[in-house]
């Protein structure tokens, strides 16, 4: 199997999380190695969270807000 990077998406409830739900309603397909972490607001994202994500094995972090 080809390499699939593990991507953690830190997203805002009001926009990007909603967009991810919409992608679901539209049945858009994307690799299942993406994990979405819901934030009330991307303002809450701390550098620490991003570093912890890499430490835990994420290959990339996407911030959407």
């Amino acid at each position: 199997m080809s390499y699939l990077p593990k991507i953690l998406a830190f997203v805002c409830t009001y926009c990007a999380y909603t967009a991810a739900d919409m992608a679901g309603s539209a049945r858009m397909q994307y690799p299942e190695s993406v994990r979405i972490v819901q934030y009330l607001c991307t303002g809450r994202i701390d550098l620490l969270h991003i570093l912890k994500a890499f430490e835990a094995g994420a290959d990339a972090v996407l911030v959407g807000g």
């Binding site: 049945r27 299942e32 809450r44 835990a56």
Partner: protein
């Protein structure tokens, strides 16, 4: 209305609420995503216990009188039970019939049964019988077979519903002009001529080309795009003389967005006058021109023709030089105007209200949200064309007017759920229950839910796991509660659909079983798993396991949060003494609450800037109206009036504010629940054009006063020259004062009325008589008022010429200098904020916009609120506007304030930021970071405090705090990190 504790029936003709805004891509002048700001509001409406939404429904008869109407409603069949449908989309997947998608204005196709759009409220499918095979006599039961909820019912018939109501608010909105009515532009014949609403869909990510604009004829990316303004507006030949208010701005917005999508786009806007009359609009217009390279071409377009080979379009127009030009474009957008919704005519007839010849509602003088029939109110584009923020403000005003009418009536009884006392669990070890939903086959069709359930049982702290066909079904919720009790669970994970729609439901279920609602965590294994990995069941199952593991890891860290009720001080403080302040005070007092009216000036100044005027553009007299209001305010048992007072201190939080009020010889402590800032504005005292140095140079207000008190000045047919934009739209004050064009035309018409032989010249840059005020611009031209356009680079020059003045101006239309001898030079001076507003801003810690007017929380959807809860604004303090607009805004601000006062107590706390005073060094980082201006320094303790009632929970402060002294409850670092660190299935990473 519902926030004022009144039950509301919301009647909508279409299958979903949201109106035109739901179809917009972005909104001007902030370029916010329309759906992002609309969707949370729609969900709020959907969840409100006092709001009943009736879609596909019309009002067919209204009898009775104000305070006691009986409304007959007719509901068309939806063929889908809204309460059963979960919006899963299975029916749409199998439906074989297609129709042009109304949401995308026919630019794409949809199935005969579908959810109107992704964020639709109600989130339920509807069936269009005209497209459905069954209704066309063909056998098909595809949707009936697959619907997991059994929600489809093809035997539904039209239903008649009856509701007894105290007041009616009409808000049918507008319908864009049918561009086929302007045949010379080729819409409907040339594929690459589209309307502005269609272009909005082309730009939208949820539109027919996913936001990547393509030409309808050949799917190529258009480079040269033209917008033609005033299509179906300002057009007497169509019987639509009025201006549609929004088209100039939306064209600029579409041009900017199109270029942002593809920098190769070359946008050109063909326009007559650029109407950027709203707050922040002129800056947006300048930005479009200077930064985004939008080409604005002042012109009259005569026709559009098509090259039959390329489908490119040629626009023929008369340019500024007066010559005929042609230019080729790849795509032409027609900026279509707004008219009343077609259903509105019938609605007006049913309600027995008067409308004007265009179909807009007529209103009594200065009462924009009232109609000719008592108890029936209106708002939005049905009143006259307007933008979103004006609409949102007016909607609040209509609610206030209706609330005043119903002040005596009993308030709605909120269905009070009885909850058992909360179990104390904070000292217990976590005991997790995991509930996994099949969502029919939406999840279980892809994800192996049994495997996920088995896996969940192996996770730390999990003592129970099971799966349900529909976790949200009533019987599942009952079972869930029984399990919580039996197993003494103290944390719950639900793995199902999106928390956006279902979190409140499951939280409620926790409360019913004696658990704090913050002990719930959801894993979205449908929208973000089974739906997006349909072709990989194994991968989707593994992902579901991991999402459940992440949710469980976080759930173990969750803690119960307190939301505590605080009593609301049942009174309001209104600061100001203009019409806005008076109106706001009276609206609140009439609704039954105490008002402190802190007037900045003396009694004689009641009425503010409106008192310095006499009559409106529409010909109504101000004075009697102001005097009536002032007398009512003075005699009102619930209004306490403090003339010449100053507010010198401010503390507390929403529902419980405190201020010191100082007035001549005394000072006094006030307690109040809400405050409305209505400090008003002043007319700019010009330094330009010999003002103050020549007796015949006046401002518009001075002229108005002279025309009223000494009308004989026009007896000898003098010449009046008016200069527009004095102190407005300049580099130092780059905003439009909104009212000056209308004021100049008002006074010009007055002069012509007094003596038709008098001459009036108006030197202008753009005439901005938006909406129905355009009618008066035409009247003025018909009456012989001369309009001469100048450019700011070549402003008029004025010299004294004895008693009179010599004015020289370069006429941009004639391209020649014109010399005028003016008996009176009248300056249309700008509106400036009241000089005392900066003092008020300092005391209340309120923000200004860049022009010194107060800044609202959100330009579009919270135009009357300050970001700090419990504080509201209206009138000229917010920005320049006409008197009747100030009145409507004041009513709206009062309604917003009443929404707080109507709650005897407020619930605060929950997911808010908390400062640890032991670690805080008051470095002020959070104060600079908070977008809502909530953190404040407690001077005595030397630490920052965050008011839980005002905190929005965004967490910006917590992330920015260099000492980690701030934590956001429910989003604490360890709660987030535990979830992040659960991403590896093999083993728990150290946190």
């Amino acid at each position: 209305m519902a926030d004022l504790q009144r039950p509301v029936t919301l009647v909508e003709e279409g299958p979903a609420i949201g109106g035109l805004m739901a179809q917009l891509d972005k909104t001007f002048p902030t370029n916010d995503c329309a759906m992002c700001i609309l969707s949370p509001r729609m969900l709020e409406v959907a969840r409100h216990p006092l709001i009943e939404i009736l879609t596909l429904t019309r009002l067919t008869n209204l009898s009775g009188e104000a305070g006691d109407f009986t409304a007959h409603l007719s509901r068309r069949p939806r063929y889908v039970d809204v309460d059963k449908c979960s919006g899963c989309g299975e029916c749409t997947r199998v439906c074989p019939a297609r129709l042009p998608d109304p949401y995308n204005l026919g630019l794409s196709r949809a199935k005969a049964i579908h959810v109107p759009f992704p964020q639709a409220v109600p989130q339920a499918a509807y069936l269009e019988p005209e497209a459905c095979r069954v209704f066309r006599g063909k056998p098909c039961e595809a949707c009936l077979k697959v619907c997991p909820a059994g929600a489809i019912d093809l035997h539904q018939t039209e239903e008649v519903l009856v509701r007894r109501v105290g007041a009616v608010i009409l808000a049918p909105g507008s319908r864009p002009f049918d561009a086929r009515g302007k045949a010379e532009y080729g819409y409907g014949r040339y594929p690459n001529v589209v309307t502005s609403p269609e272009f909005e869909r082309l730009l939208s990510a949820t539109g027919p080309c996913a936001g990547h604009v393509r030409r309808p004829s050949d799917g190529t990316e258009p480079r040269r795009i033209a917008w033609i303004q005033c299509v179906g507006s300002r057009d007497a030949s169509l019987g639509r003389e009025y201006c549609s208010y929004v088209c100039c701005m939306y064209a600029a917005k579409q041009a900017i967005i199109a270029r942002e999508h593809d920098p190769r786009v070359e946008p050109t806007i063909f326009f007559i006058d650029f109407r950027a009359q709203g707050k922040g609009f002129d800056r947006y217009y300048e930005r479009a021109r200077e930064t985004h390279g939008v080409r604005f071409l002042r012109s009259m377009v005569s026709r559009v023709t098509q090259d039959p080979r390329t489908h490119n379009l040629e626009i023929t127009y008369v340019g500024e030089d007066g010559d005929l030009h042609t230019e080729e474009f790849d795509l032409v957008v027609l900026s279509v105007g707004l008219g009343p919704h077609p259903a509105a005519a019938k609605l007006a007839e049913v309600c027995g209200i008067e409308t004007d010849k265009y179909g807009f509602v007529k209103h009594p003088p200065f009462q924009m949200v009232s109609t000719s029939r008592e108890g029936i109110f209106t708002c939005g584009a049905y009143q006259s064309p307007k933008d979103i923020s004006e609409t949102a403000g007016q909607a609040s005003a209509a609610a206030a007017a209706a609330a005043a009418l119903l002040a005596e009536a009993q308030t709605g009884l909120l269905p009070k759920a009885e909850y058992p006392p909360e179990r104390e669990v904070s000292q217990e070890e976590p005991r997790l229950g995991v509930f996994i939903c099949h969502c029919g086959i939406n999840i279980a069709g892809v994800v192996d839910v049994v495997a996920v359930t088995d896996y969940a049982r192996t996770l730390p702290h999990v003592v129970h796991a099971e799966h349900y066909t529909f976790a949200c079904a009533t019987d599942s919720l009952d079972k869930m509660r029984a399990v919580i009790e039996e197993q003494q669970l103290n944390r719950v994970v639900v793995a199902s659909c999106s928390p956006r729609t279902h979190e409140p439901l499951f939280q409620e279920n926790l409360r019913k079983s004696g658990l704090n609602k913050y002990l719930l965590e959801m894993a979205n294994i449908r929208d973000q798993d089974s739906w997006v990995h349909q072709n990989n069941p194994a991968g989707a199952t593994e992902k579901a396991k991991e999402l459940v593991k992440m949710a469980a890891a976080r759930a173990a860290e969750l803690e119960p949060l307190k939301e505590f009720p605080v009593p609301v001080t049942q009174s309001a403080l209104v600061v100001g003494n203009g019409l806005a302040a008076l109106t706001a005070a009276l609206t609140i007092a009439d609704a039954g609450y105490q008002v402190h009216l802190a007037a900045l000036e003396d009694r004689v100044a009641f009425g503010g800037l409106a008192r310095k005027q006499h009559y409106s553009l529409e010909g109504h007299q101000y004075r009697p109206y102001i005097e009536h209001l002032a007398a009512r305010a003075e005699g009102h048992p619930r209004i306490r009036w403090w003339p010449n007072s100053r507010v010198t201190s401010f503390s507390g939080y929403v529902g419980n504010f405190r201020s010191t009020l100082e007035y001549p010889g005394e000072s006094r402590e006030l307690r109040y629940g809400v405050a409305i800032i209505a400090t008003g504005g002043v007319e700019y005292q010009p330094r330009e054009y010999l003002y103050g140095r020549h007796p015949r140079v006046l401002t518009q207000m001075e002229l108005e006063n002279r025309l009223t008190t000494e009308p004989e000045i026009v007896a000898e047919s003098p010449t009046f020259v008016m200069i527009q934009c004095v102190g407005s739209r300049s580099p130092e004050h780059p905003y439009c004062s909104r009212v000056c064009c209308g004021e100049a035309i008002k006074n010009a018409l007055k002069i012509k009325e007094l003596n038709p032989e008098a001459k009036v010249f108006i030197l202008y840059r753009d005439i901005r008589t938006y909406g129905l005020k355009e009618i008066y611009y035409k009247k003025a031209r018909d009456a012989g008022v001369r309009f001469i356009r100048y450019e700011p680079e070549q402003p008029p020059e004025v010299e004294p010429a004895g008693e009179a003045l010599a004015v020289s101006v370069f006429d941009q239309n004639l391209k020649a200098f014109i010399a005028l001898e003016a008996d009176y030079l009248v300056l249309s001076a700008a509106i400036r904020p009241h000089p005392l507003s900066s003092e008020i801003a300092r005391i209340f810690k309120l923000p200004f916009d860049r022009d010194g007017f107060f800044m609202e929380a959100h330009l579009k959807l919270r135009p009357l609120d300050f970001a700090a809860s419990g504080l509201f604004l209206c009138g000229l303090a917010h920005g320049p506007k006409y008197v009747e607009e100030s009145i409507a805004q004041a009513q709206g601000a009062a309604a917003r304030a009443l929404g707080i006062l109507a709650q005897k107590q407020m619930v605060v706390g929950g997911r808010v930021a908390r400062v640890d005073p032991k670690h805080c060094v008051a470095c002020l980082t959070c104060i600079r970071t908070c977008p809502f201006g909530v953190p404040r320094v407690n001077q005595t303790e030397g630490v920052v405090e965050i008011d839980p009632a005002a905190c929005q929970g965004c967490g910006s402060c917590a992330s920015a705090c260099p000492r980690k002294a701030i934590e956001v409850l429910h989003s604490r670092d360890r709660q987030i990190i535990s979830k992040i660190c659960a991403i590896e299935l093999e083993e728990m990473a150290a946190s």
